[in-house]
């Protein structure tokens, strides 16, 4: 399982594509064609620069990584082309260094915020809390609830009592170069893709003899228990 995930991850890092619209290719005239061509070339250039900046960040060369990230952004602004938002957020907002937690950035739990929230929870919930971040968060959650209404409700029942400690914990990601912070709030209702049932296509067992003895528990359960040893989950 581990191996497949690593392979997937690296493919994600170096094989990511920018989303770009190819509307112009429908047009038959020469001008539309030319525009589509230039757009495609800008796209491939931005893609290359993003990958280069990730590469430099992995080899601990922050100056060049930030430079390539910045250039990638600038090319996008000059050519009026948007990066896909998920990719855009992996670059630092201030210095456009690709944020890789554990390599050049640190991911920490906000101690102060937690204490502040823990003490006046009962008192403060009633009084109006109208800071922008909280409001934004509330809106976000309501949206998500609409989306995965059935699954979220099921998860909530299981998770709410056990993980109430982490529920409102705040994390922040601090850029190692310029020191700017991005804040997150832990959301236990948010589920990972591999946890869903659609994510598992096939469960492969390497040593069948061992599993044949213990297979009575069902294929799914066996896969989960010995997951570290010999199962592979694919998309």
């Amino acid at each position: 399982m581990c191996l497949t995930f690593i392979a997937k991850y690296s493919a994600n890092v170096f094989g990511t594509r920018f989303i770009y619209e190819n509307n112009h290719s429908f047009m038959g005239n020469n001008k539309g064609k030319r525009k589509a061509l230039t757009q495609r070339q800008v796209c491939s250039r931005m893609n290359f620069l993003y990958q280069a900046s990730n590469l430099m960040a992995h080899s601990n060369n922050n100056t060049l990584a930030a430079y390539y990230g910045k250039l990638c952004r600038n090319v996008g602004t000059k050519a009026l082309m948007h990066m896909s938002p998920a990719l855009k957020r992996t670059l630092c907002k201030r210095c456009s260094l690709p944020l890789l937690p554990g390599v050049n950035t640190s991911l920490k739990l906000d101690q102060k915020q937690e204490q502040q929230q823990a003490i006046p929870v009962a008192a403060a919930t009633a009084t109006a809390t109208s800071t922008t971040s909280k409001r934004r968060h509330r809106r976000l959650r309501s949206k998500r609830n609409k989306g995965h209404n059935q699954t979220a409700a099921a998860v909530q029942k299981d998770a709410a009592p056990s993980a109430s400690m982490d529920e409102h914990a705040r994390l922040h990601l601090e850029c190692g170069l310029c020191g700017s912070k991005r804040r997150f709030q832990v959301d236990t209702q948010n589920e990972c893709w591999p946890e869903r049932s659609e994510a598992i296509v096939q469960v492969i067992r390497l040593d069948e003899q061992k599993n044949a003895d213990a297979a009575e528990g069902g294929v799914e359960a066996a896969g989960r228990v010995e997951g570290g040893g010999g199962t592979a989950r694919e998309q």
Binding site: L55, S59, N61, L64, Y67, V75
Partner: protein
Amino acid sequence: MERETETLKEFLTDLVVPHHRCNVNIIPDHITMLHGTKNKKQHSRKRRAHKSSTLTRREYAQLGLNTLPTRQMRYEQALPLHKLWRGYLREHLELREGDEVPQVHEKRYEEFSKQLVKLDLHGAKLRVVQSKCPTLVGLSGICVLDTKNVLKLLGEDHRVRTVPKSECVFGMHVDSLEFIIFGQHLNMRPAERSVKKIKSYVEPFM
């Protein structure tokens, strides 16, 4: 809010003739402030957001992002970048195995050379073929930085060298293809290069 209504009341009572002042009765519900405290709050929030989001040029320089150390980087570190760039070159110029560079008399030569100018040079292995300055001739390395007037080449002796573009002719060797690029064509900012219109004819300087 309360303090401002107080000042307003004071002002209104001052306007009345002194011996009638005791009869003045202002109901606070009837006062509507046009711009109260809200305006101030909005202003401060805007300022804070602005401060955190951008990096000024001075801060940028203080972080050391404008300077590249001459001797720190190893040549081996730039090799994966070069490998990545080779893939990018194939994608950009739509090259296939066994393709050749078009000759001057061919039809697609102009289109091809336009694409070549728009190519991103970060990670390319370049060699100075010809130059006004004789000491620059023969320098080679992987290009790591590209500015308006200058290329920074990382040589095999692990040194970063600065080469001016406009004075040089660069040679580029990829697999079986050989490119000769006049540095004059490259004289623009790297971000602008993919957008800017290019003159089809530039006078050679030699």
